[in-house]
Symmetry: C2
Subunit: 368 residues, 2 copies
């Protein structure tokens, strides 16, 4: 089995698909997730919504942020860390902005509400900016920026990471998360541009996958408390994840923490609760969704045609010696979605085992 799997992943996915993977129909995985939530007391409609978004993440190749996370979500619902029945409300509102209070329910519910509200506000005002407080881990930010882009708008989403794995630049106390940022820009003929990045050199989810698969991390992802490279993903808790660009990534993670967390009345810094280790405390996770209506800035078709041209120029530019063609962020994911819809979603044996364990615990039918 190759090492550094997450780093050398096939285009559009977070992992290498091996013969050990078995493929499952998206609808079956979705039904399984939904049944698990309902067994724990989550209302039918909410369970279906979250299951749908988690499988959407799987279809798009965000393999560390879809059904892979069910174990964590289930543990927190079971132990009371996340509310099974969440009553969403608005904590504040202005014509182009709002804060959704997620009532500590499954994170996808508050983010979906925030996304749809940001779209509505952008339609009326040119731009909409909606924050979330009392949210939870909500899968990949791509899910929400994609939804904005489908409305001929530019989507921007950021979140306070669900655990502190990063120290401030020059320090060694874990006070920052990977604080991801996603941006989607619709094109015309070309697939949508989707940037979805952690502000660290690696995403936490990728380290989790390597640990689950018994592989090692490349140097540059983490260091220990003396600043030496750390490559064993099982020792993640002993080290520091490294921000991109040193002080710049640190500054970006700080800014995202202040805007996605503090501004919304959500946790940031030492108040952040580790989502996976602590299954009983509310996390008060903060996120935001911004939507920018292209129509408010000019002609939508002209914009899309220009974007297509820019992407074509980039793709057709000369590769560095020994490299393949230049790629546009996120564009392989749409083809992957079609392929996985047709052929099923490949799940690693360890993930299948974890889902089977959940079926036993909750006395629901196994995924088949």
């Amino acid at each position: 089995m190759p090492t550094h799997g997450a780093d050398a992943a096939q285009p559009g996915t977070d992992q290498i698909i091996t013969p050990e993977h078995r493929r499952y129909d998206a609808a079956d995985i979705s039904w399984f997730i939904r049944s698990a939530y309902v067994a724990l007391g989550v209302p039918e409609a909410d369970a279906a919504t979250v299951a749908g978004l988690m499988v959407q993440a799987d279809l798009l190749g965000y393999d560390t942020h879809g059904s892979f996370r069910l174990r964590q979500y289930i543990n927190r619902l079971r132990d009371g860390g996340t509310n099974t029945v969440a009553k969403l409300s608005l904590a504040s509102e202005a014509s182009a902005s709002a804060v959704v209070d997620g009532d500590n329910g499954l994170g996808h519910l508050a983010m979906l509400r925030a996304t749809d509200l940001a779209i509505e506000k952008a339609r009326d005002n040119g731009v909409g900016w909606v924050g979330v407080r009392n949210g939870n881990h909500a899968g990949p930010a791509s899910l929400y920026v994609n939804r904005v882009a489908e409305q001929d708008m530019i989507g921007i989403v950021a979140a306070v990471g669900s655990a502190n794995h990063v120290a401030p630049f020059g320090g060694m106390d874990l006070l920052l998360g990977t604080n991801p940022l996603a941006i989607a820009v619709p094109a015309g003929e070309a697939p949508v541009f989707v940037l979805d990045m952690a502000t660290t050199t690696a995403a936490a989810g990728k380290i989790k996958v390597l640990a689950q698969r018994g592989e090692t991390m490349p140097e540059g992802w983490m260091v220990d408390r003396e600043g030496n490279p750390l490559t064993d993903p099982n020792r993640q808790s002993e080290g520091l994840m490294l921000p991109i660009g040193g002080a710049k990534g640190y500054g970006l993670a700080m800014a995202i923490g202040l805007i996605a967390g503090t501004l919304n009345g959500a946790a940031f810094g030492k108040d952040v609760v580790s989502f996976s280790k602590d299954t009983t405390s509310a996390t008060n996770t903060g996120q935001f969704v911004a939507a920018i209506s292209i129509k408010a800035f000019g002609d939508v078709d002209a914009f899309k045609a220009t974007v297509d041209g820019i992407f074509a120029t980039m793709r057709q530019s000369t590769p560095l010696p020994g490299r393949g063609a230049v790629r546009i962020p996120g564009q392989e994911r749409q083809a992957l979605l079609l392929e996985r819809r047709a052929n099923g979603i490949p799940l690693h044996p360890n993930l299948v085992k974890a889902l089977s364990q959940i079926a036993h615990e909750l006395k629901i039918p196994e995924l088949a």
Copy 2:
């Protein structure tokens, strides 16, 4: 003279101040710049506005983005690349968004108008997002996010870089700029947080300063067309600047180009004109300013108190072995501003020579 000056700069500045530097009063530099613009036909009020912002950049330690740029601005006004008399207008407007058309005047004028309009829209709607087209190089983005933060708002500014120094990830054609991003967040007792970063490992301005001072670049800033390190700043045009975090910095530069450029009807990609090399063509530079009103999200004083606490926790956290105390982005700049107001702005002899040359060309009194 030390090498790598820009990298090892004193806190809050872009360069090391040596005994060779001579200090000049901010008001005198401002008057000199103003006189130069007026001599070229820029209206009095516009000349004073731009001179004030350029000296503000000097006072805040953005030594590569203040009076250092006068030579470039003058060349373009002289040769017709930039309009001396600019009639600003709105290309589009919605209640929370707009696009300012800068009429190819000095870049600071359009950005100032965009900033004030974004603030006004955020006051009324919670958030304001104003793009710029037909703009030009406008100094450090910090100037504008600072202005937003003074209104108890969070400011976000990004720009399409004024020349293409960066290739798409894996490619070797120069199709992207350093595309900077700045974010300011107001605090209570603590100085304002200001992130102002290029999406490359180094800013183009820092390379210009090293070239002017005859110093070398550290490895990691640039590579040549074979991917080998390039350390001679005079050979900048032969190489590629490197994005932070590899594919991530590339993605970020792309997103900024699409949002600050294409969305506003401004140049991005192969259409970008090199601001310093081409002194006769309109650049159609694109930027945007976003303002988020803290009041629309919750209590302003409570927000500021929380932010102060977060900064204190970061600053008091344990440093890595051998490192000084953790710093908060931009916070040293306010102290520097007071020091430079009191003691004058230190200018490098090469810059003084360049300003003297401008005085001769335009037949205006020398800076004294």
